[in-house]
């Protein structure tokens, strides 16, 4: 096992541990912290895949903004002193379905003929080429994404503002 594979197993174990914490923890705040762990582990996976810009964006936006927003929402929607949560009554059926799903996906991955195995080289994406592609070839989706953000911003403000009599 090479050093890269060892690093991958460590980061993958952290990501799966974070995911397990998100879906299994009783305390909501601990679940949010485990989500941060999962996000940072996914950023590590991006670095292993030689896209450092994406890892940076992941840490900033997911680990920074999204999880802080989720923690604020957890704080504002508390109903008691201890932020605890219940598990739904149908969790055995859900566990069965998810076990089926993961075994199906892993079977599909294992039995498929993936290209690029014999090549032996992974390419490091140069930052300038990424930026140029984002602003030239993908300019229209870029502008639409900024529109999506604007609409979400306006919608969130309208939805969350206090009404007249409150």
């Amino acid at each position: 096992m090479t050093a890269a594979q060892g690093v991958f197993y460590v980061i993958a174990a952290l990501a799966v541990a974070g995911g397990l914490g998100v879906v299994l923890m009783r305390s909501t705040v601990y679940a949010a912290l485990f989500l941060i762990l999962a996000m940072l582990a996914v950023a590590g996976i991006y670095i292993l895949l030689a896209s450092e810009f994406l890892a940076l964006v992941q840490v900033l936006i997911y680990g920074g903004a999204v999880t802080v927003l989720l923690l604020f929402a957890l704080m504002l929607t508390r109903t008691g002193d201890l932020p605890e949560t219940m598990t739904g009554a149908q969790w055995p059926a859900a566990a069965l379905c998810c076990a089926l799903l993961v075994s199906l996906l892993i079977a599909a991955v294992a039995t498929s003929n993936w290209p690029g195995d014999a090549a032996g080289q992974i390419a490091i994406v140069p930052f300038e080429a990424l930026g140029e592609a984002l602003f030239r070839q993908w300019a229209v989706p870029f502008e639409i994404a900024s529109l999506v953000l604007l609409v979400a911003l306006v919608g969130a403000i309208v939805l969350a503002q206090q009404e007249e009599g409150e």
């Binding site: 909501t28 996000m39 911003l153």
Partner: protein, 108 residues
């Protein structure tokens, strides 16, 4: 562009993405707090992004479509989280609960 020796097989990343996705599905099906359901959806989106970037790095690195895709996934997910949390806050203000089991007055 520069290249580095590819020491981790592609299937490793795909299996990791499958496991994270299934964990997210379990969270969406099981959790009763609306914010925690949102967190599980974020987990699923991250798993899909890992898939995209892994395929981009291993099969078509010059086009890096997968990386662009992952950037847009992150952008749309951030917008979705903001909007969904505004809805959850609104529901909490009306029903005083964030438990999705108790927000069932439109059920048949």
């Amino acid at each position: 562009m520069e290249t580095a020796a590819q020491q981790i097989p592609l299937e490793h990343f795909l299996v990791l993405s499958a496991i994270l996705f299934s964990l997210g599905v379990y969270g969406v099906l099981t959790r009763r707090n609306a914010v925690l359901i949102l967190m599980s959806v974020e987990l699923m989106l991250n798993a899909a992004s890992i898939n995209m970037v892994a395929f981009a790095a291993y099969t078509a690195p010059e086009a890096f479509i997968g990386i662009i895709f992952a950037i847009f996934i992150i952008t749309v997910a951030a917008a979705e989280v903001g909007l969904a949390l505004a809805i959850i806050l609104r529901i909490f203000r009306n029903r005083q609960t964030a438990n999705v089991d108790e927000v069932n007055q439109l059920r048949w």
